[in-house]
Every structure is written in C-alpha cells, then in structure tokens.
Point group: C2
Chain length 406, copies 2
C-alpha cells in the first residue's frame, strides 16, 4: 500500500505565518515585544519596541510602550517552589504551560491597552522563568545545564506570532555560562568613540558591562559585582514589612555602622577577579539572618541595618569598577536599584569623580532595559545574527541565541 | 549615545544553517532522522529515512537505516523518577540536557556506523522523553499540559542540524489531547481505495488508527485499545525475571485460566467508546500485583498467568476492533508486540476472518514505525504542513506540530 495513489489533503489556507529569511527580516523595521521575568519573581516586565537594521549598518530602536504586571499568587508560589528545588515533575510540567497561558494573556492585555494590533507584532522574545541555572555542574554531573520555563509552542499556538526563547541553552552547550546575555545590547547601543562605558544593572544582583572606547566585541567584559537590591529588599521585608526601600527613604534615616560594614566587606566575592557571577547561593536569606542576628546582638537600630546594607551594595559596585573596570568610565545605570536614590547617592560617594547617569536619561526607563534587551535578542535571532559574546560567557563560538516557535 | 556610529560586528561566516522555505524544502528529497523513546524507557529507536513530496503530490519515503540503543542506567533511573513524580527541579533541568547530549551522541554513533555524513542530514525529529502528559487536567488545574524532555537548543548547537521537537504542546494548546500523533503517518502511507485499514501498534499500550477506504482525513479514527506489552512485560519481569516474553514462548507453554480471564474482562476500559486513551494510571503495577495475588490465591501456574494476560491483550484489541472499527478491515501490525508470536496467534483467534499482516511485510520493520513517523512529522513541520488530525486529537484546528531549533 505504500506509494499508493492517496494524497495527503493539505489545508492550504492554514494560518501559519512563516519565518522570513534573514535578508527579508532585516529589510524593514520590525515590532518586537520583550518579556522578562527574573528570579526575584516580582513582576512581568513587557516592552514593545521597533527595531531597524541591516547586515551592513548598525541597529536603531524606539520604545513604543512598556509596562509591568504582577504575578498571580499561585504561579508565584509555584515558581518559588521550583527555585527552592521542592516542586515535583507534574508541577514543573504544569508551570511550563501556565506561564505560557499567563504571558499570552499579559501580551494581549498589554497590546489592547496600547491599541496595538497583534497582527503588527513581528516577534516576541520571552526570557522564560529560570528555575535552575548550573552552567558549571556540581555533585558529579558532567555537563552544565539551565532551565527557563515557558512552553514556547503553546505561546506560538495561542498568539500566532513567532516566539523566540530558550536563549541560554546553546551558549551552555558551547561551553559557556549561558550568562550574561544583555552585554550585546549594551555594546550595540551604549558603546562610544569618546568614552569608556560601564552599563550597570542593579536588579537583585548587580552586574556591569564594561565597554572600553572603540572596543571590539572581544574586548567587552561583563560580570556580577555582588548584591543589587537583594540584601536591601530582603532586609526591609523582615524589618519593616515592606517590599523594597522606596526611593531609599529608610536608608536615608539611618547611620552607617562600621562593625556591620566591616563584617560585610569581609565577604570575599567582591575582591574575586572576573569572570564571576553570584546569586542566591551567596547573598541569600542565610547570610541575611546571620547579619541581622549580629546586628541585634549589638543592638543596632533597624534603619541603621538598612543604611549599612545600602552602603555595602554601593561600595561593592564601586570597588569592582575601581579594581576591574575603570572609575573614569561613564556609568549608565538601569534596573530597579536606579530608583533607590540613597543607593545612587552612596554610589556617587564611592565614585566621586565618575559621571553616573541613568539609562532613563538616554531614553530607556530603568526597568525597561532587560525586557528591551530580550526583544533585541529575538530580533537578532530571526536575523540569524550572533548574540552571545564569547569573551563574556566563555562559549567557544559566537551563536545566534534562542529558538523560534511559530 | 544611542544611535551612535558604532556598528555591531557581525560574524559573517558563522555556521548557522538557515531553515529553507516550505517551497524549497519540498522541492527535493530530504534525509530525516527520527528519534523515539517511549514511557517504557526500554530503548532509543533511531531511523534515517529519505522523504520526497510536494504540496501538490503525495509523499514517498525510503528507510535508509535504523537501530535501537539502550539507555545508560543512570539516565533510565532519572527518567523513571521523573515519570513516578519523584524527581526535583534540578534533576529535571539536568535530565533535559543529559538527554540532548545522549541523543546527540547516539545520532553521531548511528551515522558513523552507517557511513552517512551528518552534513547530508536535513533535519532530526526527536519526540523527547515524556515525563508527564495530562491533556485533561485533574486536581483543580484549569488547562492541560504535557512535557517531553530534551533540550532542542542543545541538540541543535551540538549537531548543527535543524532539530524538530515538542510535537504535542501546540495540539494541547488548541484544546486537543496532544495524542495520538502517528495517525497522520498511517493515513498518508497505509490508506487504500480497496480496503478499510487498521494500523495497530502494540507498544506498552496498544492503539489503532482506523482508516475507512477512501477516507477523508476527518474520517480517520484513532484510540487506545488497552494493554499492549505492558501487562505481559511486567508479569514476566516479576514471575520469570525476564524483560519480555521473547516470541511469546512463555505464554505458549501455559493454558488460559477462565477465572483470571473473566476478572480481566471486567475492567471497563475495553468497552468504553472512543475517543479514549490509557496508560500507567490503569494498566499499572497496582493492577498487576492485584492480578498476581489473585492468581497465587488460586494456585495458578506462572506460565498460565502469562498465557491468560496475553489472551486478554489479544482479546481487548479484537474486541475494540469489532465494536468500534471493522473486523473486515485489513490490519497492519507494528510495535514490539508484533514480535510476540503467541500474541499474534491469539489476535488471529479472536479475529478469525481478518487479514492481519505486519508492517514489516510492507517494508517497515515493526520497531521502526514510530521513529519513522516522527521523522515524517519533522519533515511536515519544515514543509509547514499540518500534521495533527483534529478528529483524532480533539484539537480545534489543523496545526503543523512541533518547533524547529537550529
């Protein structure tokens, strides 16, 4: 019966949208959405931007709109269980789909609010929810691995827009850390012929991309400097039952306590040479509990704890810049931490002669940079343009990161 | 600094292989590998086939080579823990990458053994390891979900061949069961103008695709009939410490025990109307333990237990065909169960007037059909041709299943 005369009936009018060739893709402007969710599980950041570029000229973008949405409590709990390594396979499989439904709905709500028709969106770059990132494996495992949850297939089916995601896996398969990935954005849009540039992002963890003036891509350096908002946020949660220190108002009321500051400075991470990265394995609840116990034993005022933690955060960023980058570079700050005015003031104290501005002053709201960067990564992916920086991630080759579901 | 004169340095010689347009893809023959691993975790089945087709004419294929590889014990245990819902998120994330490394190595070994250069392979269709499949959600979850583990990004990076996978998610997102997916293969290659056809696959579970003669795609019916090898395999594991009943030799030695047979026939699944599917939630260890306890209490001989289970398996397939398909159809049997000669004999006993042949007699070795079918699904995906059958899965539209990583 094989090779019989039967013909497979094709649905010729099916609604699939093919992926343009790289040349087609780069031949006109493209509307891209970026969706970013970090391990702090605080919000879904979404940005719609227009990108224009080609293989022979550089890229430009404009931000059309951006917003942040809260996570529903059940999904937030599910993610936190996964990050704490206490979820079971059924919960992981379910969460993978729930995130796709949630991000699809978020996208629709966001577009509706902006009166922007989904048919005009050329692609969506979605970081996915990191539940595990272990590029240098521990405990007998031989190869690195990472997992960002969100069913790309499901989003593609629900939205009928090409979905680009899973940005970190290929870099790890090529021997890299799968992180950081934002430096390609910093390099493309912030590098300068006149100045050394440092793009500083203060999220839970703080990291910098250091771009010497006129740098070639293999001269870009990027690494974590230590805590961003993580110690401050967690401390005000415990001590003041607040989610974060709004504008740095709590820290502003206190004094720096030298005993506690000295204890913090003794953590070796800040002095370690890059490449380096850190996360919940160091600047975590255990460390914070230890610090608070110490502070309580010395009867240190709650405000003073927050002030000192903020000073340590600013100092650790400045110290890394002095030791491993260039304190004469121009610093462009993004991330939620840029809104902590006391932290920004502290940073200026430790880098008194450095020009420090926020990305907002360059047209990129501080909480938009990461979701915008993943929109850019999606744009580069469909253009088949490499987006990792081997000097930064350690990968053995340049790769157009991500896969496309449509 | 935005829009400055810096140009992103593109690696113009990067080794990415773009995805052809559907027209290009269908314009010449394509070499596709299919990789199938089932929930029985017994082997990695791999097939290399050549497909030819176009949007206006039907498809033909030829099998170039095929093989089966065992799972390394550590990975097998990891998968079984995931399926039993006892793995943690780190183990799931690690397994996702380990399977990509394993399948990549298997692919390379297989191609080397066949002296077939990887550069000639146009795509790889990989089913991935199902660790959870819950299309109709239970316990308060609102949406269905499924998870097939294997990092497609990692395989694409390691092999530099387009990898097609995640075949089930889009169908579930469109309201379907995400299964069965092989019917499109059966329909395309087995349907006939002269005969009603039943493609019967006897894996762990047995399922049929019923294709009335001259059927249009929306007349195809497919469903699980009940146990395939699952009860027989698990019984001989416990009673004879064997992996399976080779050629049905154990069952041939025994007699059918009517008390036990009657007890088995009382399980309602066989009489339920399609669409229906079953798996480990019914024909599992708990049921088997109950049956063996019952048999022991009646002092039933071990061989007789296997004989009776084999009769029940054959009867349940036949009964479904009589009730819900057509016993006058031509039956084409594939799957490991086709090698159990006693089971095949039993099937003929319950369907005495039916023409029953194996897929091998049509040129498809019985253990090759599923991996070949997933190679075909990958071929259809890059050709952007729909591959689900809404009448079979319940999806609300036809979809070209799977996503492509490259």
């Amino acid at each position: 019966m094989i090779n019989n005369e039967h013909w497979l009936e094709l649905n010729k009018n099916h609604s699939l949208r093919g992926i343009p060739t790289p040349e087609e893709w780069l031949s006109r402007s493209r509307y891209i959405i970026g969706i970013m969710t970090g391990t702090s599980v605080d919000s879904i950041d979404i940005t719609l931007a227009k990108f224009i570029g080609s293989k022979s000229k550089h890229f430009i973008f404009s931000i059309i709109s951006h917003d942040s949405y809260p996570f529903p409590e059940t999904i937030k709990i599910g993610i936190e269980n996964a990050i704490r390594n206490t979820a079971n396979p059924r919960e992981i499989a379910s969460l993978n789909f729930e995130l796709a439904y949630l991000f699809s709905k978020t996208t629709k709500d966001f577009l509706a609010k902006n009166n922007f028709p989904i048919e005009k969106v050329d692609a969506i770059g979605v970081h996915g929810q990191t539940i595990w990132h272990e590029p240098k494996p521990l405990n007998g495992r031989k190869k690195g691995f990472t997992m960002q949850l969100v069913s790309l297939s499901t989003m593609a089916q629900l939205l009928k827009v090409p979905i680009v995601g899973d940005f970190r896996a290929k870099d790890i398969a090529a021997g890299g850390e799968g992180a950081p990935l934002v430096p390609i954005f910093d390099y493309e849009f912030f590098s300068s012929k006149e100045n050394d540039i440092i793009a500083l992002n203060i999220g839970g963890i703080a990291n910098i991309t250091y771009i010497p003036k006129n740098a070639k891509i293999n001269q870009v350096v990027a690494f974590d400097t230590g805590p961003g908002n993580i110690l401050i946020d967690n401390a005000v949660k415990i001590l003041f039952n607040a989610n974060f220190d709004k504008n740095g108002e709590i820290a502003r009321k206190g004094r720096i306590i030298s005993q506690l500051f000295k204890k913090l400075k003794s953590i070796p991470f800040v002095r370690r040479k890059p490449p380096k990265s850190t996360g919940r394995e160091l600047y975590n609840q255990t460390l914070l509990n230890e610090l608070i116990d110490f502070a309580n034993s010395k009867k240190i005022d709650y405000c003073d704890i927050v002030t000192t933690l903020t000073h340590y955060t600013g100092w650790s960023i400045a110290e890394n810049i002095k030791k491993f980058a260039n304190p004469m570079a121009k610093i462009i700050v993004s991330g939620g931490g840029a809104k902590n005015l006391f932290l920004m003031k502290t940073l200026r104290t430790y880098l008194p002669t450095t020009e420090i501005l926020t990305s907002e002053e360059l047209g990129i709201p501080v909480q938009v940079k990461e979701s915008l960067a993943f929109a850019f990564l999606a744009y580069l992916r469909i253009g088949e343009i490499p987006s990792n920086i081997p000097n930064v991630t350690g990968a053995k080759e340049r790769i157009s990161l991500g896969i496309i579901a449509w």
